[in-house]
């Protein structure tokens, strides 16, 4: 659990973070969402003390982050950034093993961990281990960056717009990988982005920041359905609020159990937005729904989407 308690940061005259309080439950995926200058990156960087806290406090797992030396704290927290910052003179293996080496893990354990992480990020260990960063594509580099952040198996992962610089197709794939890893490892993730679609796809909680304060904090659905103020409603509805709502709701929310329809069934946890897309391409208003094992559950209709 991360408790951010009335934290303030100024740069000279400028108040960047203004008495901001936020509690992120253990195992949560919290996205700090806001436009540039909203204080989201600064807030994130105060958690691992890359930026000094002016006043207020931050506790991780009940312990004040200023109670331990900064280097010790940072080695316990995974960190990934947009510019990746792989060390160009080290191999992929050495890059990933950065924190384990700082923690003086024995050599065999580091080797095994690197192989495990490369596989987790769907990079073949034997192909990639010995490569240098400049031999990798942008997407592969960011995969290595994420693997490096995960190397010492931290309970908390801080990510500062990690997929901001990759192309849309790679970003989509990386978001998928991150969700899969998140679900498989039960880590707490704090993720900074200005991309609302990315936030809606990844987050269990979204904190919308505006001028150094929290404009609203809640689940993606709450933010879309009940914006707390004009700023949030303006921010989330900037483009296509309806489609955003469809993207955070699942078929399970609207399914008609027991009924039947023709065609290839959709999985019950498919987003409604994807269901709409399938209806349009198949030119039908009714689609069958099944569970992960392929058992028929019911149908979803076009009318259900707009209910």
């Amino acid at each position: 659990m991360i408790e951010i308690d009335r934290v303030t940061k100024r740069y000279g005259e400028r108040l960047v973070v203004d008495r901001l309080s936020l509690t992120i439950p253990a195992g949560g995926f919290c996205v700090l969402l806001g436009s540039s200058g909203s204080g989201k990156s600064t807030t994130l960087r105060m958690v691992n003390r890359l930026t000094a806290i002016d006043s207020g406090s931050i506790r991780v797992g009940g312990e004040d982050v200023r109670g331990v030396p900064a280097e010790v704290l940072r080695r316990r927290i995974g960190y990934a950034i947009q510019s990746i910052g792989l060390f160009p003179h080290w191999t992929v293996e050495d890059n990933i093993a950065t924190v384990p080496r700082l923690l003086r893990w024995p050599q065999p354990r580091m080797r095994d961990r690197v192989a495990e992480l490369l596989e987790l990020l769907r990079l073949d260990p034997e192909t990639y281990r010995r490569k240098y960063p400049h031999q990798l594509s942008g997407g592969e580099q960011q995969r290595v960056g994420v693997a490096r952040a995960l190397a010492a198996d931290p309970e908390l992962l801080l990510m500062d717009e990690p997929f901001g610089a990759v192309d849309p197709i790679t970003r989509d794939a990386l978001q998928g990988e991150l969700l899969r890893i998140y679900r498989a490892t039960a880590k707490t993730i704090v993720f900074v982005t200005h991309d609302i679609e990315e936030a809606l796809r990844l987050a269990t909680q979204i904190a919308i920041l505006h001028e150094g304060r929290i404009a609203q904090y809640g689940s993606p659905l709450e933010i879309l359905e009940r914006p707390a103020n004009d700023f949030v409603s303006e921010f989330v509805s900037r483009q296509g609020l309806g489609l955003k709502l469809l993207s955070v709701r699942r078929i399970a929310d609207r399914m008609r159990a027991g009924e039947t329809a023709d065609g290839k069934p959709l999985l019950v946890d498919t987003a409604l937005r994807d269901a709409l897309s399938v209806m349009i391409t198949r030119r039908t208003e009714r689609l069958p729904v099944c569970d992960a094992d392929g058992r028929h559950l019911g149908v979803i209709t076009l009318a259900d989407l707009v209910r």
Partner: protein
């Protein structure tokens, strides 16, 4: 690209000769003109008067002249053949042989001439020897460039040529040439002067690194220092070296007069002390500039990521900044060493010794060969140091491929 086409004959079926390698072609024209118009060696009755130039064929005789002509025409035909790796190898081999043959021809010419010459007469390299050897070296460098030869191949070539020349020298090929005579009479002091020269360079480069490296780090960390520090170091560079050597004599003499115990450490107004101080001052700018440029050029994202993962300041410096800046640091070291080898020649003026002793002695006696005895080793020292540091830089690049 075909370069320029020479029309051998104008009529309908023109024979077109394309010059593919214009660099080599130009070098051959220069070398041929030099050989045709100036002396290959010159002979003088004593070391004070200027000599009579003798052309290649007269001085070296038929066989070496024929060999040089054959190698020259092989290179000429290489200009006109479409480029390929095999051709560049052949050109490199011909150029290397041409260089060695020029040396052998000059040595044999001198040996032949000395038999009938009066004792005390001087036989030196002539203008066409220098131009021929220079053009052959450039042709060799051009061929290596076109081959995109790696540092390993260059190393092998350099070792081969240096050992061939050394072997020629040891077997007495050059003994009759006046530069060897000058060496012979100064044999006792030559090695000492060479070592003294290297010691001057080593001490001043070492001193410049000890002072300049921390200064460069400070400048990289605090950009506000940049203006004043570089203004001062640039100012130092503008002082002519002879003037700086001279200017240091006065304060140093005053210092030793005020604190005589300093003399016990070998500190004096003239000699090695002012020489090393001046060489250090000149070397500071490249050291500081390259240190600061190397460190500020390191990818900020890598440092930021390192900090975020819990590397300490020292770990960031030693494990990230220093290795990533090392190619630029090494380039700075290269500039400084080559510069110091040249400047240390001038230091002989204030009694610091070194190879400059021969240069100034030779200038005073109007004995060009004695000047060469100081200048040539300094040139080869600089070339050798430059080559070794390039080798180190290439090895680093391979390690930290970026």
């Amino acid at each position: 690209m075909n370069g320029l086409d020479l029309m051998a004959s104008r009529p309908a079926r023109a024979l077109r000769i394309a010059i593919h390698n214009q660099v080599l072609f130009t070098l051959l024209i220069v070398a041929s003109a030099a050989v045709a118009s100036s002396g290959f060696v010159s002979i003088a009755p004593n070391r004070l008067v200027s000599g009579t130039p003798l052309p290649l064929w007269e001085a070296a005789g038929g066989l070496p002249s024929l060999g040089i002509a054959i190698l020259g025409s092989m290179l000429l035909s290489a200009c006109c053949i479409a480029p390929s790796r095999a051709l560049h190898y052949a050109a490199a081999a011909s150029a290397a042989l041409l260089l060695l043959l020029a040396l052998i021809a000059a040595g044999h010419a001198a040996t032949a001439l000395v038999v009938n010459a009066k004792p005390g007469s001087r036989i030196s390299f002539g203008a066409s020897f220098w131009l021929l050897a220079g053009c052959a070296s450039l042709a060799l460098a051009d061929a290596m460039q076109r081959l995109a030869a790696g540092i390993g191949a260059r190393l092998v070539l350099a070792i081969a040529i240096v050992s061939a020349v050394l072997w020629l020298a040891i077997t007495g090929t050059f003994d009759a040439l006046s530069i060897a005579r000058e060496y012979e009479t100064r044999r006792q002091v030559f090695t000492g002067a060479l070592l003294q020269h290297m010691a001057l360079v080593g001490a001043s480069v070492g001193g410049a690194v000890v002072i300049g490296f921390p200064l460069g780090i400070a400048v990289a960390r605090r950009p506000r220092l940049q203006g004043p520090v570089f203004a001062f170091l640039n100012l130092l560079q503008t002082i002519p070296s002879i003037a700086l050597f001279g200017l240091l004599i006065v304060p140093l003499s005053a210092l030793v007069a005020a604190a005589p115990w300093l003399a016990a450490f070998g500190i004096a107004g003239i000699g090695v002390t002012p020489a090393i101080i001046a060489l250090v001052l000149y070397a500071l700018l490249p050291v500081v500039r390259n240190t600061s440029a190397g460190l500020t050029g390191v990818d900020r994202a890598a440092i930021e990521a390192g900090r975020g993962m819990g590397l300490s300041r020292g770990q960031i410096f030693w494990q990230l900044e220093l290795p990533l800046a090392s190619p630029v640091l090494l380039a700075g070291l290269r500039i400084v060493i080559v510069q110091a080898i040249g400047l240390a020649v001038v230091a002989a003026l204030i009694g610091a010794g070194g190879l400059g002793t021969f240069v100034f002695e030779g200038l005073g006696q109007y004995a060009v060969d004695l000047v060469l005895l100081g200048a040539l080793p300094a040139i080869f020292l600089a070339l050798g140091a430059d080559f070794l540091l390039q080798l180190a830089a290439a090895l680093l690049r391979r390690r930290f491929a970026t």
